[in-house]
């Protein structure tokens, strides 16, 4: 985002000056857009840190930020595919609401009596039912859009009301508490975090994976005699990404369980409490790991599968995709079904986090989700967008919101800022694309 603004100012006199940096970017193959987003994120973080008198960049706040990002972030990965196919889904917040409600009610009224309290089948059945409901709702909307030819804007605008109303109707307006403790793990918290040791295990696995991916990419390119990155660029990109993993792990491990919780934890696990209290780390929260897992799977789907290729081809030229023999209607319907399922995953996370399903759950999430995807580089004209960008976009949006909460801003003012940011982000996107074209 910020690269657009600065790039515009420098542009007239570049050629000599900017080309060193350009060469650097070309060699490392770092996406300027991602770089801009990371820059914007840092500006937001440092800005809020200063404005809040040093409370934003603390392990506690960053850990909370990561958990809060998970639910919208999961949906943003699906919104990318929806927007890439030149559609929109305005119903995700309401679908989140209704699937959350379905899961909570089914758990308390059916699954817990059926399987017994805290039986593992309870959370499995709850999540299974939630995913199926999301899939069915999304698939239904997708069917109306693809096969009946009603524009997605209208179908999902209707869905926004229909599913919100359905959530209210299912529970007659009540708030339904969640009872299963295993299910609650999905929401994070002290029981829903994996602790310091496992966090390091995951960090090491992730770094090993990054190294392997880099080596594999290089080998593939060599095999087919395609140009390869210079060695220094390979090392630098690896060092940067591995460094990010290490820093993130240090941060989540620096967030310690508060005294009473730590004592309870020690008691429950039979650990003797030493002098001066226990230092027990939260580590990565389960919803955050789930979010990253969803991101990896969705990136794979978008880039390495036939379905993903078709999604992008349809976005680039729907007529050409049809003439190439792609069943564009089926693909469109599948995109919406997938979106519905992701909304259900987000619902599981947010219901578990709030330990109850409420009527207002997911309200305005469609706005955050669409904003995340668009800020993350998904073009509203269709055909372009990345999952990683949308994930980062979700983090940007959540940072804005948490920061404003931290500053004690009123909700209406927060809404004004978020709405304005969305419009400005889309405008910057238009400017960026004109320049890139």
């Amino acid at each position: 985002m910020s690269d657009v603004a600065s790039g515009g100012a420098v542009r007239p006199k570049t050629a000599g000056g900017g080309s060193g940096f350009k060469n650097f970017l070309r060699a490392t193959e770092i996406d300027t857009r991602m770089l801009g987003m990371v820059g914007a994120l840092l500006v937001i973080w440092v800005g809020f840190h200063i404005l809040s008198g040093g409370t934003f960049l603390t392990p506690r706040n960053l850990w909370n930020l990561s958990v809060q990002t998970a639910s919208v972030g999961v949906m943003a990965t699906g919104m990318v595919l929806v927007i890439v196919t030149r559609n929109i889904d305005l119903s995700v917040g309401s679908v989140l609401g209704v699937t959350g409600m379905i899961m909570a009610i089914a758990q308390t009224t059916w699954f817990t009596p059926m399987f017994g309290f805290d039986n593992p089948m309870v959370w499995i059945a709850t999540i299974g039912l939630g995913l199926l409901s999301g899939l069915a709702i999304g698939g239904l909307q997708g069917f109306v859009i693809a096969y009946m030819g009603v524009p997605s804007f209208i179908v999902t605008l209707g869905g926004l009301l229909v599913w919100r109303g359905a959530a209210w109707w299912v529970a007659s307006g009540r708030t339904i508490p969640i009872t299963d403790d295993t299910f609650k793990i999905l929401g994070g918290g002290s029981d829903g975090s994996i602790g310091a040791t496992w966090s390091w295990v995951i960090a090491i696995v992730a770094i090993a994976f990054l190294a392997l991916a880099a080596v594999n990419a290089r080998r593939q390119r060599k095999r087919f005699h395609f140009p390869v990155k210079p060695m220094w660029a390979e090392y630098l990109t690896f060092a940067l990404s591995a460094g990010a993993v290490v820093v993130a792990t240090l941060i989540v491990n620096a967030y310690l369980l508060p005294g009473p919780l730590a004592a309870r934890y020690a008691q429950a696990n039979g650990i003797a409490v030493p002098e001066g209290g226990l230092a027990i780390s939260f580590g990565y929260a389960v919803p955050v790991l789930l979010f990253i897992g969803v991101g990896i799977v969705m990136t794979f789907v978008a880039r390495r599968t036939r379905f993903g290729r078709y999604v992008f081809a349809i976005g680039g030229n729907p007529e050409a995709a049809e003439l190439a023999g792609i069943n564009t209607k089926r693909v469109t319907m599948m995109v919406f079904a997938l979106m519905g399922m992701l909304a259900a995953i987000a619902a599981a996370i947010s219901t578990a986090r709030l330990t109850s399903a409420t009527n207002a759950q997911g309200t305005l999430d469609e706005l955050y989700t669409i904003a995340a995807a668009v800020i993350g580089g998904t073009s509203l004209a269709g055909g372009a967008g990345t999952i990683a960008g949308a994930m980062l976009g979700a983090l940007v949006m959540q940072s804005l919101q948490s920061g404003m909460v931290l500053l004690g801003m009123d909700t209406p003012l927060q809404n004004i800022v978020v709405g304005a940011v969305l419009v400005v982000a889309v405008w910057l996107d238009t400017v960026y694309r004109k320049r890139a074209a």
């Binding site: 593939q220 095999r223 087919f224 395609f226 794979f300 880039r303 390495r304 599968t305 036939r306 290729r309 992008f312 081809a313 349809i314 976005g315 680039g316 030229n317 007529e319 050409a320 995709a321 049809e322 003439l323 190439a324 023999g325 792609i326 069943n327 055909g383 372009a384």
Partner: protein
């Protein structure tokens, strides 16, 4: 109606104008009495057309004559209002592009029909991707194949990593042609395939057409370039206002006569008149 046309062609054969095309068996493809209208416009009105193995049939006509619409019915892009399509003498059901491809019908569209946001290889294999044993896209293999086929058509082409949006008009056309010949087409439809090409690339397409003829592939060639048509085609079919004016062996008519058919709808002596011929 179709049978008279075919008989006439055989008659033509016996009068000495041989062109090495074996028209004894059933035609590779025959479109019989095809009609389609958009709103009130009869874009194609009772048109019939056939094609034999190894034959190049040029389809000519003024702008808006209905050429593209007729061949889009064959390629499955449009659904006809009436008429029949026969492939190798058997009735074919073609209701979408997948059906047409299953019959070995490949098409180079006038509009090229490329997905602008993905690269050449992705376009070549769109809908027919090469997969790895794990069920994922094998981009490296597809790119390697793309390099092979593009080398045959346009050896100067190097921009394999870029989305086709970034390519020149001629390069895009080369990608569209490459896509049509990549999958062992039996029937090839080329709707103004050289409109955007330079002289060298056009010559390469002409060579390609001659090669494909040898492989017994049948080709419908739509072109406004009368010289190309006379160089490459075995037969010409002229359309006007959605109807067939007439058809003739290329060797039986002159360029001026063909121009007369296109502009005036006047069918010369060497041609078989169709329903659209000017009545005098």
């Amino acid at each position: 109606m179709m049978s008279t046309t075919m008989d006439d062609i055989r008659d033509g054969g016996t009068t000495g104008h041989t062109d090495n095309i074996d028209r004894a068996g059933p035609p590779l493809v025959a479109m019989e009495d095809i009609s389609i209208s958009f709103g009130g416009i009869h874009a194609v009105d009772g048109a019939s057309l056939d094609l034999y193995p190894g034959e190049v049939v040029a389809l000519l006509g003024h702008n808006g004559a209905g050429k593209s619409t007729l061949i889009k019915i064959l390629s499955g892009a449009y659904k006809r209002d009436s008429g029949e399509i026969m492939v190798r003498g058997e009735r074919a059901t073609i209701s979408n592009p997948r059906d047409a491809k299953a019959y070995g019908i490949e098409t180079i569209y006038q509009t090229l029909a490329l997905a602008d946001n993905v690269d050449a290889a992705a376009n070549l294999f769109l809908g027919r991707e090469i997969m790895t044993p794990f069920g994922t896209l094998d981009d490296a293999a597809m790119e390697a194949e793309a390099r092979k086929v593009m080398g045959r058509l346009n050896p100067n082409f190097k921009r394999f990593k870029e989305p086709v949006r970034a390519l020149s008009g001629g390069q895009r056309q080369s990608v569209a042609i490459a896509r049509a010949i990549l999958f062992n087409a039996k029937i090839l439809i080329m709707d103004e395939p050289t409109a955007a090409l330079g002289p060298q690339e056009t010559a390469q397409v002409a060579d390609l057409i001659k090669e494909l003829k040898k492989e017994e592939i049948g080709i419908f060639l739509i072109s406004h370039d009368i010289h190309d048509v006379f160089d490459l085609s075995d037969r010409v079919v002229v359309m006007k206002n959605g109807q067939v004016v007439g058809s003739a062996k290329t060797s039986d008519v002159t360029k001026d006569e063909v121009l007369g058919m296109i502009i005036l709808g006047k069918c010369p002596a060497g041609a078989t008149p169709g329903p659209g011929a000017m009545k005098d």
